[in-house]
Symmetry: C2
Subunit: 430 residues, 2 copies
């Protein structure tokens, strides 16, 4: 079927979508089996910046209500105007394609209900992990599986910063400045480096994998902002690499825990090898075992690859079937409940900055023992530049226990008069 | 839609398909949107070995022609009886799902023409890379792209053997025996270790990516049978890991070269990290850039995950759209031509076993220079156990030149009276 498109938002991704649709008309005609993908409107805030393109204006209402338009591609991001645009499009009987994870994470149910009521569809391959086709993989390819775990690098900015810190021993501030200079980080990088962006994407994946719609507050998140370069160095000495992972774990049959945190991964782990602005998702399914998907997590053309993939699906006639059978953000309850991650067991890495006095190590160890946490190794490092005088870092690798126990122990340790600053406490994936 | 299934072949994969369909009825009912996936017939050679299962018999004709059957799943492998079964099923108006790469590589056109004539479909996610959803990724998710390169580990047996050789410095014979003991290699491993299996799978991927149907003879292949442990060791010393790669490269606009060969990969390359019986496929597309898919390449449940994924696609109604628009193995010519890989340029690793005499190195270097091959490094190693007395191995890393030039140089070197045995010559991926 031929498709008339209203593109709302024409930044990096939108511009690449336009370029792909215009330069590859013949290819796409072939891939859709003869369906044309025609841009009817490009809606932007400042048309003067898009003089070289046709069909550019500022009126999204007009674009949506044009009878020649049957698909609205929302690429403006955020969740206020974007929500209004998407709901207006659906109410007008138009299909929607969006790359907006924040919108889906916050308002997925409202949007999908609106699409069902209107008899239209919503596609969102580009909303998670840019060019990596993880949405279709989870929703279609792995449909025979119950997903039991997801471990993912979903924020390219954070991964770029961590990679730079690991490769050049740069501080967080220097690596962030580099990321900004290379265009991998926004001027205000908060949503990337505080874990919010990863949490939004994890919420979307969790809806597909488990049918849950967690409150975003229910996703515990700990970003990389202010990460100390020494933790990356100590982790490396122990054979680990620190990555910001978004994780979903199902356990006890129907419980699922979602969290975002720096995690120590063995250097030989495939996820530990994912460098720069790349994303990767490792999925565990009860039939397939483990599968890993890696690729560009952002960028104009990679993300456009996913947006146009959604267009091809729509033109080929697949989308309506997928939308109807997956029943995302619907009444259907698959029985999973989101629970706090405190019961999830793993090993942990702790770093405690202590006064260089006798008896401090004994105190710290005692507080771990109170929570039945068993110690695998302790290294008392030399004092490092930038730390207060006469303090030393204790680096502790602990055997597996629940996250809740580690949280309690860290809180107790932080109360010690001999401890300076909060205890650093990251899960270790083994 | 509900589906009546005739399963032809019930070995490891078929048994897992039956287990998945029977133990996960509710899950699959949910995933298909209410369509039942009912096994009506299980056709096997020896029913006595399948007493615990219902619907088992030996008559595939009866199974196919049962009006309650609308899908035939072919899991017997090979390309003689399997071809007859598939063509009979299609002629009878039944959809076909197959895991048979050898059949598709040899008879794809005949089979797909038959399906088109009968108005049915053929699905084959399980035919390449077991549980990894690479077929759907190439045919649907990445539809916006022209694929420009594929580099893939597609044979788990070979990868297991290479991993064992690298990790334990085992000889090929010892590693093969281990693979057989662990069930990763057949009693007759020929098709795995000579590169044939990888070539079949590469031919299937090349059809999707480039629309070409190469004669299997047109895929140059060099397997790992008899690989010398010293090459793995020398490669490691240079910072490389040897993997059996199936590669497709497009160049000069519309030419594509297909080959299977041991390749030296940098140890930091994600493909170099793929261990044991896992498979991985790295795809380069002109929009997405590079994406990598990794997972179990064989095994009952992982492969069943793909077979049942195809069943879900069919029951959801997606398959007919995909089959109609992708036009695989059809008249449609996308303009690509398969050409010999001799024009493909890369660096190469060479090992020459020479008599320990003055002037030999000069002779070897002269023959490389004749082909305008520039040398990056030479190491003359100590003589090793198992080599003839008074011989030494020369290990040469050469700068990029065409494969054809390296072939010529190796042939010339092999003629030297001071050279013992054929020159080892593997591409280096940098």
């Amino acid at each position: 079927m031929s498709i008339g498109i209203a593109l709302i938002g024409c930044g990096t991704v939108g511009g690449s979508v336009v370029d792909l649709l215009t330069t590859q008309r013949n290819r796409l005609l072939e891939r859709t089996g003869g369906g044309h993908l025609d841009i009817k409107h490009i809606v932007v805030r400042d048309p003067a910046r898009h003089r070289e393109r046709p069909h550019v204006h500022t009126d999204w209402q007009k674009a949506i209500h044009d009878p020649a338009v049957n698909v609205v591609i929302e690429l403006i991001g955020g969740s206020s105007t974007a929500k209004e645009i998407v709901l207006t499009a659906l109410a007008a009987g138009k299909h929607v394609i969006t790359a907006n994870k924040a919108l889906l994470a916050a308002h997925g149910r409202t949007i999908f209900d609106a699409a069902r009521a209107a008899g239209t569809t919503v596609s969102f391959e580009a909303a998670v992990a840019g060019g990596i086709p993880i949405i279709k993989a989870l929703a279609e390819s792995l449909a025979a599986n119950q997903i039991t775990a997801i471990q993912a690098i979903l924020n390219g900015t954070s991964n770029f910063i961590l990679s730079r810190m690991a490769e050049s021993d740069a501080t967080y501030a220097v690596a962030l400045a580099e990321a900004q200079a290379f265009g991998y980080a926004e001027a205000d990088p908060t949503l990337d480096v505080d874990g919010s962006d990863s949490a939004h994407k994890l919420a979307v994946l969790a809806q597909i994998a488990f049918g849950v719609s967690p409150d975003l507050d229910a996703i515990e998140k700990h970003g990389i902002a202010g990460l100390d370069a020494s933790d990356i160095r100590y982790a490396r000495e122990l054979g680990y690499t620190i990555k910001l992972l978004a994780e979903a774990w199902s356990f006890a049959g129907n419980q699922v825990s979602l969290h975002v945190s720096p995690v120590l991964l063995r250097q030989t782990d495939m996820l530990a090898q994912v460098r720069g602005a790349f994303n990767a998702i490792r999925v565990r399914g009860d039939a397939v075992g483990e599968a890993l998907f890696q690729g560009p997590g952002a960028g104009g053309m990679p993300t456009a690859s996913s947006v146009v993939g959604d267009l091809v699906d729509l033109a080929c006639g697949r989308t309506s079937h997928t939308f109807a059978t997956t029943q995302l953000w619907s009444d259907r309850d698959r029985g999973y409940r989101v629970v706090p991650s405190e019961r999830v067991e793993s090993r942990f890495y702790l770093r405690v900055l202590v006064k260089d006095q006798p008896g401090v190590l004994a105190e710290v160890c005692r507080l771990l023992a109170v929570e039945s946490i068993s110690i695998a190794s302790v290294v008392q490092h030399e004092a490092v530049d930038g730390h207060p005088e006469q303090t030393v870092p204790l680096v502790i690798m602990a055997h597996a226990a629940s996250a809740g126990r580690f949280r309690n122990a860290a809180q107790a340790i932080n109360q010690l008069a001999t401890v300076i600053g909060p205890t650093v406490c990251f899960p270790v994936a083994d």
